[in-house]
């Protein structure tokens, strides 16, 4: 690392991995419930498990993004972080809000809106928290020596993500309008501004790992985020087909969301080409694996598996089935989980001065988690397609269909075990690095 305050990132990464572990536990609870084993129903009913699982996912990814920003922005703008103290306060309060929400979900206190379950009073605390984070990052960036494209795109993604949170907080009497604006948050996050964050982190990693000229990488970064917004904004329409919104969304959503995979394809081609072009071979192969892995897996999970059910005539049958869960897992994993794990794998040796990469453990962590996730995606997919044919086309009752597809959840849980083993190895490797140290400062 080049600046002392980059060390703050470590605490964000540590917290993120902790929440990831907890998220997985609740995933297993749901996997077993789908198999017919819901022994925990009285303490943790399915809706609690689900809210915890998805909210912890969003929380750890946000912590990962914040950690990435605290690592990247000082280095890119050549400036110490504006206020390390504020960063710590912000981390602790973020965790406090997250833990309170998780407890609240066990006590039937929530908003009951998919992905935005956080109870309203806590929403305001999230807003304050994110404002503190943005203030810290933007002050660092704009009092720094340089405002690079990479840093600007990253900061812009974070800023827009905060702004888009607001429409999700308005109450509507109409379920249709409620849902309409909920997608301003959920869709425009994952298929809009979060792609800027991902693009920013990816560009930073590629610059560092491949040594390709910054100007070339940043030019393509603009093209990618351009494609993102060109397709992704109107692509929101793919959530407006069947919720009581006008039918013009079938056309608009269909056409533009079908273009969305282009941004992910561009990201994958970009990463592979930069890797091929790069002369400098960075020794940290583990970080390289995760970086290229994120670019490729996001194209498969978000691009291809998203496109598979995005046309209105297909979505009419797959809407709200396990097909959606199939896509949701691989998309979140490939695009956002993997890019966070990539930046952690890259940053840890620099923060601690130890080089615990390229060993068997990091290799198994990468392959077990990825192969496990591919297996999980297939299990969800097979269950989902069977559900669509039985329930939606043949007219078999919902619960009877669920009985028939139960065995696929055994496959899900087995693959999830492999996935989980990979994550455990990743976390052990992370812990072996120990705490960040000033001795790891380099001047370059």
């Amino acid at each position: 690392m080049k600046f002392k305050t980059q060390k703050i990132a470590y605490w964000f990464f540590l917290s993120a991995l902790g929440l990831l572990a907890l998220q997985i536990i609740y995933g297993f609870i749901m996997g077993f419930a789908h198999m017919g084993m819901d022994g925990l129903h009285d303490i943790i009913p399915f809706n609690t498990a689900r809210a915890v699982h998805t909210n912890l996912l969003v929380c750890w990814l946000l912590l990962g993004f914040m950690g990435s920003a605290y690592y990247i922005i000082p280095e890119e703008s050549q400036n110490e972080l504006y206020s390390p103290k504020l960063a710590i306060i912000q981390l602790v309060s973020f965790l406090a809000v997250g833990v309170t929400a998780v407890i609240a979900y066990h006590l039937n206190w929530w908003e009951g809106r998919k992905f935005l379950e956080i109870p309203r009073p806590l929403d305001y605390l999230v807003v304050v928290n994110v404002l503190a984070f943005l203030f810290n990052i933007l002050m660092t960036l704009f009092t720094g020596k340089k405002q690079t494209t990479t840093a600007l795109v990253l900061a812009m993604g974070l800023l827009f993500a905060a702004l888009l949170y607001l429409p999700g907080m308005i109450w509507f009497d109409s379920q249709t309008l409620d849902s309409f604006y909920r997608w301003y948050v959920v869709h425009l996050w994952v298929e809009g501004v979060w792609e800027l964050i991902m693009g920013g982190i990816l560009a930073f990693l590629l610059i560092k790992i491949t040594g390709v000229d910054r100007e070339v990488i940043e030019k393509w970064l603009y093209v990618i985020v351009g494609l993102t917004f060109l397709s992704g904004i109107l692509g929101t329409g793919h959530h407006y087909y069947y919720i009581g919104a006008p039918s013009y969304w079938l056309w608009i959503g269909g056409i533009f969301s079908a273009l969305e995979p282009l941004a992910f394809l561009a990201m994958a081609l970009f990463a592979i080409n930069m890797y091929r072009k790069g002369e400098k071979k960075h020794p940290n192969k583990t970080a390289l694996n995760w970086t290229l892995g994120a670019a490729i897996t996001s194209f498969v999970g978000a691009g291809l598996l998203g496109a598979a059910h995005t046309l209105p005539n297909v979505n009419l049958y797959t809407h709200g089935t396990l097909v959606t869960a199939m896509h949701g897992h691989m998309a979140f994993w490939g695009a956002y989980a993997m890019i966070v794990l990539a930046i952690i794998a890259y940053a840890m040796p620099n923060l601690t001065g130890r080089k615990l990469y390229n060993n068997n453990m990091t290799m198994y962590a990468f392959w077990l988690s990825n192969i496990g996730m591919i297996g999980m995606t297939v299990a969800f997919g097979v269950a989902g397609v069977a559900q669509v044919y039985m329930e939606r086309i043949m007219g078999v009752d919902f619960m009877e269909t669920q009985k028939e597809i139960q065995p696929h959840f055994l496959v899900l849980v087995l693959c999830a075990t492999g996935f989980c083993a990979g994550i455990i190895l990743y976390i052990i490797n992370f812990l072996q690095y120990g705490k960040p140290s000033d001795e790891a400062l380099v001047s370059e």
Binding site: S174, I243, G244, L316, E391
Partner: protein, 147 residues
Amino acid sequence: MLTKSQAKLFFLAGTVIFSVLFLGLSIDTHLNRVGEQTHEENITEGVIAGKHLWEENNCMGCHTIMGEGAYYAPELTKVVERRGVPYIKGVLMSPTPWGEHTSGRKMVAYGFSDEEANNLVEYLTWIGNIDLNGFPAKPQYKVEKNN
């Protein structure tokens, strides 16, 4: 070849143009279309109270409605048509977890009062009458169970 400043222009122009288009369409949907398509005039006090109950208990954490939510329990958009009011009130007012003796997959035992159950039924009835552009599709076949 494309230069960096051209790429930047592509990004900025695309963002502005498509954001404006999207906001315009959102306004049209919100102000001119949704009211009619969802029969907004039928959103009674009961429907609103039902929506509050729906959210406070996170029913969407097990069920989908209009195709949104979780994949653990039945789609409820057309439940009033499918099951009728007495059945639904039975589910909602049940003091023991519904499903325990049917599918084995359990619902939370809410034990709602008669009034609460009526509100939820009103909410579900309103949902069931929205014009959803053809969702849920009518199954193309009707299979019969052999045992």
